[in-house]
């Protein structure tokens, strides 16, 4: 449904990039042949299952595994005591403690032991036979409660040097960003808004549960197949925890049924490897949905205080935010990203953000699509909306007036190069959605969003086959269409048809280090490496043609998929196509390939503006999404279908976060809704078609102008929907999710 609304002309003519070619994984996926994590098997494999804490916070006094070990069909039982005693960095030590609890169970669902047995039935019985002696401790799951004096303490002395003396022991870190003078700026304002906002933890909600299969031979060589966003990270983490050389552990990534950041993690893999080692058998582990919700990363819940001053004509004079995010039982909530991104869309003279990283008795948070940014944007964009409306100003005009542009010093430090925020706002203002009529109990909301995007370690290998087709090996699981995009960029660069290129996701034995699929980095960084690998292969092919023609390689140029003689002294040789060069490669120096390794800078920040209409049922508080339009800068949309899919997917996950998704804990600290029935992600019938408008402001950091598009789309929806619901219901909603009981109560209380 994308409108063809390119705001900036392409800087070059593309033949393949920008088209909507067939995706290479489509047939396997729609016919059920694609192999996901749980589809991998090995001869003689055992079933591995995890015993999990039923308590939110408890000291583990002892674990008696003897009865389980004595059962027929049980081949191994492991606890944290079985991990080799290795000194690890803080982050990896937390991962290990999260895989199998050490001294304390820190949340409902925390893994405490695991078994490998010949059947699922026996493994389940063995779990029941493990006796854990717990000393139950007081618990805390709310971010604001956790930092009150007297709150139960998770880790004594856990905070780092950034935390001021006398702070709550549940604060792990403090972050501060900004410039100017807030108090002086607020004095210049005609109106100052101070308001607090809360969001609940939400899960990434990927359809495929975590799964892996591990083997570990007596010779020290190990293999792991798993569903992950980064098998190189899995390799490095498992090797560290188990004391293996990274080169001895080969990890192969399966097809992936969604991740959204939640599979940049390690939960089962080291446990499966220990069970495999202890049993000398392959061990397969597959989580249930309940385990996924109880024990894998949701994102942080948040509590944010905002102070913004605005002049009568809509200029922001000062903006401050204090953000508290709880990231579960370990340090590392994404509050730093929240504090950095909160005011990133605006050109502000006086701005300050302070972020507090808080621990609670909840599962260790994991990255979730633009980690930390949606909650911050919810608070900031809600406050700007309220101020604009209070002053009788157009919310899009207010944003345009304050919008960051090329040369703006961002609130988190850097100075922006060419960016697309203003283009998204102007396009939104001109779009028919903005002026479409609204009915009774209906409202319209807008909000902006920002995401950094990222480069990271990347390796690509591109090989020319003897018949002149091309294979590309990348090291990033294909989570958003990267096989199609890499094939397209390789075909574009080589001047051959898309169908002549096949891209695979290679295992960790085949390429050098690759950063996980995160930070919307793959189309940018792996794309850049693919283009560079293709250029290396082109240089080699020009050299081979020069050899055949007996001229200098510099006198050969590559165009339209063939080597051509160029320049006054090159002669009049007929062009040699890629296939012709490939055919004789054996006689001109051997096989032809190109590869590229890099940690590219210049990912190019990304902005979006979202517009949404809702209708609120005043008698039940139910919210219906009527119309939704995403305006986002893609730099260059390599495969527009996938780009639209990313825009739509982010919007839909944001709709879930805004309206019904939440982690609900009982008084006992136990998760009440560990299933997709009561953890309510939107279903298809809840949604209108999400309309998308792709803008293309080329990223100077990429050969084709590409920017990552995967994450920005989840940043604006929370505020856009809250602004819309507030307009429809007449009452300002500051607490997510806006579930029907909450909206109805707000309407009745006003």
């Amino acid at each position: 449904m994308a409108l063809d609304s390119k705001q900036v002309l392409d800087t070059r003519e593309f033949k393949v990039v920008g088209t909507r070619v067939l995706r290479p994984d489509g047939v396997d996926k729609v016919t059920g042949k694609a192999r996901f994590g749980a589809d991998i098997t090995a001869p003689g494999m055992l079933v591995g299952l995890v015993l999990r804490s039923p308590h939110a916070h408890a000291k583990i006094k002892s674990i008696d595994t003897s009865a389980a070990e004595a059962m027929d069909g049980v081949h191994a039982v492991v606890t944290a005591a079985d991990f080799p005693n290795i000194e690890l960095d803080d982050f990896t030590a937390d991962v290990r403690d999260n895989c199998l609890a050490g001294a304390k169970a820190l949340y409902d669902g925390h893994a405490v032991a695991a078994v490998a047995a010949s059947s699922n039935h026996i493994a389940k019985k063995a779990l029941k036979a493990i006796k854990v002696d717990y000393e139950v401790l007081d618990h805390v799951t709310d971010v604001d409660e956790a930092i009150k004096p007297g709150a139960p303490v998770l880790h004594e002395g856990g905070g780092n040097e950034s935390v001021p003396e006398g702070s709550s022991p549940n604060i792990m870190a403090r972050y501060e960003f900004g410039h100017g003078d807030i108090e002086a700026g607020l004095k210049k304002a005609d109106r100052v808004l101070e308001r607090s906002y809360k969001t609940e933890a939400t899960h990434q909600g990927y359809i495929e549960p975590h799964a892996c299969l591990a083997t570990m031979g007596p010779d020290g060589q190990a293999d792991l197949w798993c569903c992950t966003q980064g098998h190189y990270m899995v390799r490095n983490t498992c090797a560290a925890i188990l004391g293996l050389d990274q080169g001895q552990l080969r990890v192969t990534a399966s097809e992936i049924g969604g991740g959204f950041g939640g599979k940049t993690t390690v939960f089962l893999e080291p446990v499966a490897m220990m069970l495999a080692k202890k049993s000398s058998r392959p061990v397969k582990m597959v989580m249930t949905r309940s385990e996924v919700l109880r024990a894998t990363g949701p994102t942080a819940s948040s509590s944010v205080d905002i102070r913004i001053g605005m002049t009568k004509d809509g200029r922001i004079t000062a903006a401050a935010a204090e953000l508290r995010y709880q990231g579960g039982a370990y340090a590392g909530s994404p509050v730093e990203f929240g504090a950095m991104s909160a005011f990133a869309p605006y050109d502000l003279e006086n701005v300050q953000t302070i972020g507090w990283d808080v621990v609670t008795n909840r599962p260790k948070q994991a990255a979730y699509r633009a980690p930390g940014a949606p909650m911050a944007a919810f608070a900031v964009e809600s406050a700007i909306d309220e101020l604009a409306k209070g002053l009788g100003l157009d919310p899009l005009e207010v944003r345009l007036k304050n919008a960051a542009r090329e040369g703006t010093v961002a609130s988190y430090g850097p100075t922006y190069p060419a960016i697309g925020l203003e283009a998204t706002l102007r396009t939104a203002k001109d779009h028919p959605h903005w002026t479409a009529p609204l009915g009774e109990n209906q409202g319209r909301g807008v909000a902006c969003g920002f995401w950094f995007n990222f480069g990271g370690d990347t390796c690509v290998s591109l090989n020319i086959t003897p018949d002149g087709t091309v294979t590309v090996s990348e090291g990033n699981p294909d989570i958003g269409g990267s096989r199609a995009s890499m094939s397209m960029m390789a075909a574009e660069e080589l001047g051959i048809p898309y169908e002549k290129v096949r891209t695979i996701v290679a295992d960790t034995g085949s390429l050098g280090q690759n950063e996980v699929t995160d930070g919307s980095r793959v189309t940018f960084a792996v794309g850049l490496a693919t283009i560079e690998a293709a250029r290396a292969a082109k240089r080699e092919m020009c050299k081979r043609a020069a050899m055949v023609w007996g001229i200098e390689p510099e006198a050969v140029e590559w165009k339209d998929g063939a080597a051509h003689p160029a320049g006054p002294n090159a002669g009049t040789h007929p062009p040699m196509s890629l296939a012709e060069i490939a055919e004789i490669a054996s006689n001109t120096g051997g096989p032809i390939a190109g590869h590229h390794e890099a940690n590219p800078e210049g990912a190019g920040v990304s902005f979006a503006t979202h517009m949404v209409d809702t209708e609120v049922d005043p008698e039940t508080g139910a919210v219906k999404i009527l119309r939704y339009t995403v305006f986002q800068d893609a730099g260059k949309a390599v495969h527009p279908d996938y780009v639209e899919g990313q825009f739509q997917g982010g919007a839909v996950q944001g709709i879930g976060w805004a309206l019904n998704e939440e982690y609900i804990y009982g008084e006992d600290g136990v998760l009440q809704n560990a299933g997709f029935l009561d953890y309510r992600i939107p279903v298809a019938s809840d949604l209108p078609m999400i309309d998308t408008v792709i803008l293309e402001i080329p990223n100077p950091g990429h050969p084709y102008g590409v920017r990552g598009v995967g994450e920005t789309s989840i940043v604006p929806p929370l505020a856009a929907i809250a602004n819309s619901v507030s307009a429809a219901s007449g009452v300002r909603m500051t607490d997510l999710p806006m579930s029907p009981p909450k909206v109805l109560k707000a309407i009745q209380d006003q």
Partner: protein
């Protein structure tokens, strides 16, 4: 585990009289199989009633409809006669689960699962449906509201099972409706459910009404005061407001992850009002 699939009612009751350990009845299996898979049920035997004569039939009887216990909700939805007479019951049955689940699940199973939030039950109660129970001493007919006695509990004795549901003949100028509140638009469980069945006379005055609430008590609540609020009226705004007040007053919900007491209490009235409007328009049609 034993799997039994008798072909006659007699064989079934005979089998149930023998020593089967803990035996569960299987019709669509959409509750039982899920419970077994998640470890909440570990029966020694399963008796599948789908092959018993008549269990998969919808038949005309005394002007009403007899629905075999193994008739799927999808089959009910495709039955023109049943849908014309009892659209509220058919709609309620059509709300259970997903399209795939619809092909297997049954209203008899929904009744015997005894969930307070069962969608088809308030509609069946409002329609004054009867359950025919087969057992060692033959069959007996009871009003459907007497089958569930609490969450997961039924009045069925040892060896008994529901063999069919009977919906009585629809009176002239009568209509029924069922509405539920869920936070999403499908694939969910009622936070509040409300079935209304009513009859009008030639002038549009309500002569009979039956109102049932689901998910706001351990079992379905029949709101007699709500019915009284409608009878004798033109089902006008005043009557609907009185109905809503009566339903909110009758609701005895708990607060849980699906809704607060205040929310469920209020929405009981809202849904009753809306369902009554639909039922009245159907009755007048």
């Amino acid at each position: 585990m034993r799997y039994l699939a008798p072909a006659t009612l007699e064989d079934a009751t005979q089998m149930l009289g023998s020593d089967l350990g803990e035996c569960r009845i299987l019709a669509g299996g959409t509750d039982l199989l899920v419970r077994m898979r998640s470890g909440f049920a570990e029966p020694d035997s399963i008796l599948d009633i789908k092959r018993i004569d008549g269990m998969r039939d919808i038949t005309r009887e005394d002007g009403g409809w007899r629905i075999g216990a193994a008739v799927s909700c999808a089959e009910m939805g495709e039955h023109a006669g049943l849908s014309a007479d009892w659209p509220g019951v058919v709609e309620a049955a059509g709300l259970i689960g997903s399209t795939q689940i619809q092909g297997r699940c049954t209203v008899a199973g929904n009744l015997c699962n005894a969930s307070p939030a069962a969608d088809s039950v308030p509609a069946l109660v409002a329609a004054r449906a009867m359950a025919r129970i087969a057992g060692p001493d033959g069959t007996r007919d009871v009003a459907v509201e007497h089958v569930p006695t609490g969450p997961g509990q039924t009045s069925l004795g040892k060896g008994e099972f529901v063999a069919s549901i009977f919906l009585p003949a629809r009176p002239e100028n009568a209509g029924d409706a069922y509405l539920r509140f869920i936070p999403r638009t499908e694939m969910d469980i009622a936070v509040v459910g409300c079935g209304v069945s009513l009859t009008l006379d030639g002038d549009g005055t309500c002569t009979d009404a039956h109102v049932a609430l689901g998910a706001v008590g351990p079992t379905v609540i029949i709101v007699e005061a709500g019915a009284k609020a409608l009878v004798g009226t033109q089902v006008d705004d005043a009557a609907l407001d009185a109905l809503a007040a009566a339903c909110s007053a009758a609701a005895t919900p708990i607060a849980d992850k699906r809704g607060t007491v205040e929310f469920r209490t209020h929405v009981s009235g809202v849904l009753a009002k809306r369902a009554a409007k639909i039922a009245a328009s159907r009755a007048g049609a």
